[in-house]
Subunit: 146 residues, 3 copies
């Protein structure tokens, strides 16, 4: 808990009832079940790809004992994140090692004439990235576009 | 079905139990009900407008027999997608013909002094694009910002 | 309790029937309950920060009698929106006065060596912006990335 949220709890310390009616953000984050998040990577800027993996790492570090279910879906101009020549190849490998699911869109690959051997090792594939992202939301995943 | 997922099914052809234990992404995508997706178009770059319609087409092509319910909402700098002089006017017309709902934000139009005759034919209108997008999510639509 | 939630309780104190009958401008949009929206501000361009607050204002103006619950979460390159030297400081202050919750990501602040006194007054803080945004969706908030 940060110093700030500790201060928030101090303010609310007058009564549990009040706290229950107006949970602070930090408080609410502890109440619900494990998070499930689908990250959309569809921009062409490598800075966005790094930001996505920073986001993933920040989420993971909040829940050391209750790891959230995380999937990163790259499609469109974002597919470059998962090509063999990706500038953040080592970071993708690290994410995969921590159990993050990382998948590439086959529709995008076809459009760019990319084949599986052009891509990073150990990633997964989906026919249509957008469909995958939509389905995950339908299944209760939260959506983040970094 | 892509060549890759076909190969996956061939590999899995030995038994249903195996298939059930190792569902491919494409397989998982077929299990739930019809998709409903709201696409947000709020960026000013025409490349984003094209990407949005590519996304729509990819979703449609995955479900030839069970067409998903798709709505595209343009607001803010994205309103240009639906102006009469839109560089992708013909593609918007094609999307409308396939049953996609395409709507423009009237708040944005007012801010830019655009009237209905300035816009593409056959599109719809909503008072506030953001409210429309939020309501659709509340009703169970998945959200995609291309 | 924030100023916003206090006003919400005051509004609801009159009776659920009144709230349910309150007409909104957009007819089709009024069927579900009050909107709850989490806005993600993670881009570095000040134009995106302004767009986010324009979006907030448009949502509010649609529901003069049934104020939606709105939270703006700034993280990553978007943190600049909430720094003391933010070019839209006065607009953030206005949003706060209308009851919007505006929070900064402490993970991002740490990365940039920002302390609370570097930030705008009256904002809130969360440990991880992405976790906050994901949790809000899990709680039923709609997601908008302007």
């Amino acid at each position: 808990m940060t110093q700030h949220s500790r201060r928030q709890f101090a303010t609310l310390a007058g009564g549990t009832a009040v706290a229950a009616l107006t949970p602070s953000a930090a408080h609410a984050q502890q109440q619900a079940g494990p998070l499930r998040i689908v990250f959309q990577v569809s921009d062409g800027e490598p800075s966005k790809w790094s930001l996505a993996l920073n986001n993933v790492r920040n989420v993971q570090s909040e829940f050391p004992d209750d790891p959230p279910e995380i999937e990163v879906v790259a499609y469109g101009p974002g597919i470059g994140m998962l090509r063999g020549d990706s500038p953040i190849a080592s970071r993708v490998a690290e994410a995969l090692k921590t159990g993050v699911k990382v998948v590439a869109c086959e529709n995008t690959m076809k459009g760019l004439k990319l084949v599986y051997t052009d891509m990073l090792p150990d990633i997964g594939y989906v026919t249509a990235g957008v469909v995958e992202i939509a389905r995950k939301q339908q299944q209760g995943f939260s959506y983040i576009k970094p």
